[in-house]
Amino acid sequence: MGYHQKPQYLSKTLEQDLLLPRVLVLRSPSVPSFFFSKSHLQAHFHLVDPLDSPEPTHSFLSRHAASVLALLCVASTRVSSETLSLLPSLKLVVASSAGLDHIDLGECRRRGITVTSAGQVFTEDVADFAVGLLIDVLRRVSASDGCVRARLWAEKRPFPLGVKLGGNRVGIVGLGRIGSEVAKRLIDFGCSIAYCSRKEKPSVPYPYYSTVSELATNSDVLILCCSLTKETHHIINKGVMEALGKEGVIINIGRGALIDEKELVKFLQQGQILGAGLDVYENEPHVSQELFAMENVVLAPHAAVYTLESFAALQELVVGNLKAFFSNKPLLTPAQLE
């Protein structure tokens, strides 16, 4: 199941191209291609791309991007205040990832630059992936698959029993759209839901805890669905993991730095928590080596959004936001800048 892009060979003239609105594209070379559908965008916009030039980005921007109004930030390419300072005319940053922590939102706010997010294009896929990771950890799906492939089935019978999913108290850290979708799914698996969030949400039927520690004390599973900010950095620390306890499971589909990864490794090594399903890490793509040997851990390569469908929806959304901007229409997914 691969992702195939049919190139659109456009027969627009140079004049036609120059009449198209200019959009600056910022992407680091390591960003996977599925985040950036060049031909799709070129049908509507004239792309200004520093990677097309041998010039260093800094001088390229100074020379070519002074009048650019819109910037497409591909995946988690950093948009720092330094970069923004080279773009005096900038009015819009279009993000194309679920998180926004790689963009200097404070500086955007100060400058009156609007930022659009990826809206809901990734929400369901991330929620599905979180549930998949949880079932995998509890029922040791990946670990067993490894045993079977190593031809150990006949030798290792009987295997240890898995953990039942229903009846688990699931604590959602951050009950935004993703957290809500995770909750909705797990209810149908017989789990009970509680959450903590910056503020309590009165319309929500689940019990609220004002601190992650209290949530952890009352949960069997913690699922991290919040964004990474100064406040949430290492929010899952030694104290929280102790509160979660030996039978506890942590699923992280947020950002690696939400968890003190060194502490997590220690807790797992000492059997002080039951297991973990991780899609994100503090130093991607490097994963703490100690985790590789653990059967009660499932490791994913930051792939919770990775479906053909979500990327197709992303491209439409990106083009939609840019078109709305250039026709002075309401943006599709403006982000709240705090």
Binding site: Y3, L133, V141
Partner: protein, 332 residues
């Protein structure tokens, strides 16, 4: 060492014996649950005698047998148990019991249908997510150190919007369907008979179901009719993007044909907890990243095993008290 003989001599002659040829996993793990004032276990596997001789010598008055997939109740076995009136299995499946012969002789059969429905449904949906979203394949990728070297892993396929064909809509199939709906899947089904109270579209053959589905989840029992029901024709109808999940019985799928389809890329992937000749798994599957392999245990949890053991004991105690059985298998 014939210690079972000595034990049964010293034991109260009042307690009827329940024959166990080989212990089901439930008994191995939760033996303390099987202690009862109404019966005692006659453990054939502890004897060094060949089975038929053991049965002839010691099981002549045995009225009940607790069996499992590892110790099927065939017509030959039944012939050696002249007093047999009840066959109990701790599993949902009854394909290892000669039901025709039991029916002919008026032997009742009980199973543990129902206690595995929720855990089975969790497992089936978990396997579907794993195949569509490449969870295990990506885990291998990370553990092999490939992420920093080769970059991001491949795109998977979204669950929401998928048309999922449930084959068999009993307790297990219904539990699967309910969970799939939470992911935004469209549920379709095939069953022996249409169920009027059910909101999902019914397809009268598995072939038609496959043709209209993106994924198939096998939720039915293994019978003469369902053996090799999923064959090359059905799999080709499912198609190149199609995914099949089987946690029911291996022989419902023609394994040889499925392996060929997988190797040739004629279907998109498979999540398998059961195989035709466990614990043997076709070698060709080990090289495929779009297949998730599970050693017939993804359904099991301590809770379902405890519930199964309680059901077995409940059925036995009812039987020996001449009360109605809790979970009799109704013959069709």
């Amino acid at each position: 060492m014939e210690n079972h003989q000595e034990r049964s001599d010293h034991r109260s002659q009042d307690l009827p014996q329940v024959l166990v040829i080989k212990p089901p996993p439930v008994l191995t793990l939760f033996e303390d649950k099987f202690i009862s004032s109404k019966f005692q276990l006659l453990k054939a596997w502890e004897s060094t005698l060949p089975l038929d001789q053991f049965l002839t010598n010691y099981a002549g008055s045995v009225r009940a047998v607790l069996c499992s997939g590892a110790s099927p109740i065939t017509a030959d076995i039944i012939r050696l148990l002249p007093s047999l009136q009840l066959v109990i299995t701790a599993s949902a499946g009854v394909n290892h019991i000669d039901l025709t012969e039991c029916r002919r002789l008026g032997i009742a059969v009980t199973n543990a249908a129902g206690v595995f429905s929720d855990d089975g449904a969790d497992a089936a949906v978990g396997l579907l997510i794993d195949v569509l979203r490449k969870v295990s394949a990506a885990d291998r990728y990370v553990r092999n150190g490939l992420w920093p070297v080769k970059g991001d892993y491949a795109l998977g396929s979204k669950l929401g919007g998928k048309r999922v064909g449930v084959v068999g809509l009993g307790g297990f199939g219904s539990a699967v369907a309910k969970r799939l709906e939470a992911f935004g899947c469209t549920v379709l089904y095939n069953s022996r008979t249409q169920k009027p109270s059910v909101p999902y579209p019914f397809y009268s053959t598995v072939l038609e179901l496959a043709a209209d589905s993106d994924s198939l989840i096998i939720c039915c029992g293994l019978t003469a009719e369902t053996r090799h029901m999923i064959n090359r024709e059905v799999l080709l109808a499912l198609g190149k993007q199609g995914v099949i999940v089987n946690i029911a019985r291996g022989a419902i799928i023609n394994e040889k044909e499925m392996v060929e389809c997988l190797v040739r890329g004629e279907i998109g992937g498979a999540g398998l907890d059961v195989f035709e000749n466990e614990p043997n798994v076709p070698e060709e599957l080990f090289g495929l990243d779009n297949v998730v392999l599970s050693p017939h245990r993804v359904v099991f949890t301590p809770e379902s095993f405890v519930a199964a053991s309680e059901l077995v004991v409940g059925n036995l105690e009812a039987f020996f008290s001449n009360k109605p059985l809790l979970s009799p298998v109704i013959y069709e």
